[in-house]
Amino acid sequence: MELRRINLGDIKLENRRYKFTLDEPSRKLLTSIRESGITEPVKVKTEEGGYILASGWKRVAAALAAGLKEIPAQIFPGGLTDLNIFKLVFFENYPQEDFSLAEKALIIKKFLEFGLKSEKLIREFLPGLELPPERQTIDVLNRLSDLDWALPEVHRGRWKLATARLFLAFPPEGQRLIINLAGAFNHNQQAEFIDLLFTLQQRQEKEITAILAEREIEPLVQEIRGKKPQAGDRLMTVLRERVNPLVNQINREIRQKIKQIDLPEKCCLSYDKSLEKTFVSLNLMAGTEEELVAAVSHLSNSLKTDQWSSLFRLLGK
């Protein structure tokens, strides 16, 4: 490959044929390139009097931000097919990058576009991408890659395949709504958010537009849209209560009952919130024998009230 210094302006950045990475350049990379320029050449292909960038997207973004005019580049020799180039770019990144699902979706899409047979993709590439080696995986990720507007959020949220599959089961309008709101949730919450919405949609036979417009939910949606991400936690609470009304109701009653119990100081009462186990755990701290006697005596007096029996009734409900 020929090494050359090229003008940044000659790179046709609108041509993203080989691009599958979605991360922006890090602060460290920006600083490094601002201070000492690009030391590791990017890779380009010549085409129609300019260059198509194959690898080095973050370096180029950082160089543009630093106001560089020229950068070092390796030029792919003529005669290489798009598939040849993409394989080289892929394997260059493969050892260093922990690809997100969104990036894997783009990788799969590009391999297919460049003519790799799906059988070969399944056998030779999916295991290395830590994806189930089957056609279904390709089908799901190919569909996901078509939703380019969704990919940044899928990437940021580090979605798993199961979440993507469920997301794709929503109608397009529902998918847009989910992506619009997803920024208010962390990675685990995003998966749960989609799962809860799916359950409600199926259970109530309603579109999610209608669910999110409900009286209790709509103000929270507006807050999230108004860039108040803390509303995300409250929205999750409401959705969890909708999906799990019985367990939430019993837990509320139990918490209320525990508050009414006169517990010794430095005594903590816990129970199984899934309600599978019907016992309570008491954690009692005492630094001296006297403290222990006092705490046990306190507990013993507390047991004379009927609060405990009603607590156990609730736990065994």
Partner: protein, 362 residues
Amino acid sequence: MFWFKQLKKIYVDRQVKNSALVKKILDHLPNLPVRIVSSLEEIQDELRLAPDPVSESKRMLFLTREKYFIRPCPCTPGCVSCDYWTLDLNLNCPLDCSYCILQAYFNHQPLTIAVNQEEIKKELEVFFSRQNKSVIRLGTGELGDSLALDSLTGQAVFLAGLLKGRKRSFLELKTKTAYVEPLIEISPSENLVLSWSLNTKRIINSEEAGSASLEERLATAARAAKYGYKVGFHFDPIIYYSTWEKDYEEVIEELFKQVPVEAIAWVSLGTLRFPAKLKEIARARFPHSLIYEAEFIQSWDGKFRYPRPVRVKVYKRIKEIFETHNSGDRLYLCMESSEVWRDFKGQNKKGKPEASPFPWLI
């Protein structure tokens, strides 16, 4: 049988291509293409390319041999175990129930028949020589329907012969079909229990593709009981939905109209439970099913279950209905915690669970 029509191809393991049972099966299915393979992987490679590998796996028949057949039933840790043993001659099932764990359990496993069934004799001898329990229960319905492939394999009669005369050792054949013809042609063994999974008509229609109707199952059970077999029933999975109580009551009433209490060996109850992976697969395969959209908790074993109060309510109500037919003592719970067992069976005066909770120990 209905599912013969859905079969697309037969694969024969090179090791067993000269087996008599292979010949019999191929004669039975003369119009299907046959491919000799050296390993399961060759079939799995094809299954991986299918848009829905689970459905596709039910259309491919693989004739092979197994090394071992008997395994302890993998009861979930933390549950009260019923000490069951599974006898797996076949893997995978031609029926297509939306709640079936095999969808998540198998990884690209075609409908598989172990044609070296003769080898089970030795394994059974060793197995029985090592057992010291008063009652031993073995069954073939864990990794597929016990009778769905029987017209091809003749396994039911073969196994009945192997277990004949072994007192206190029960062989259970568990099915959702109405196919018992070969068993009606032999003299009934007292230790062979023919069992049917039962559910409400609504659930059978919406969730149990390819299975016999409730009427067919009960009529066949009644026929088997009349012929002299002990019969068992499995209400598993019980699905909790708006009209569950009325619907399950109808099933139980219908059951007792047709089958005498004395013929019933046992009846198990188990509410729907599933690992997260099954939910993912089944939601994609059965987009109209609502069974995965109820209220669940993730329990001690990582599986999703209805909340304990719901499960206890369901079990107690079903027990009440059985008790009106003087058959509450036939009931036991499958894969349930000691807390739920305690609420279901009650406690003795010392606060311990009642002794002998399982029907076969009474």
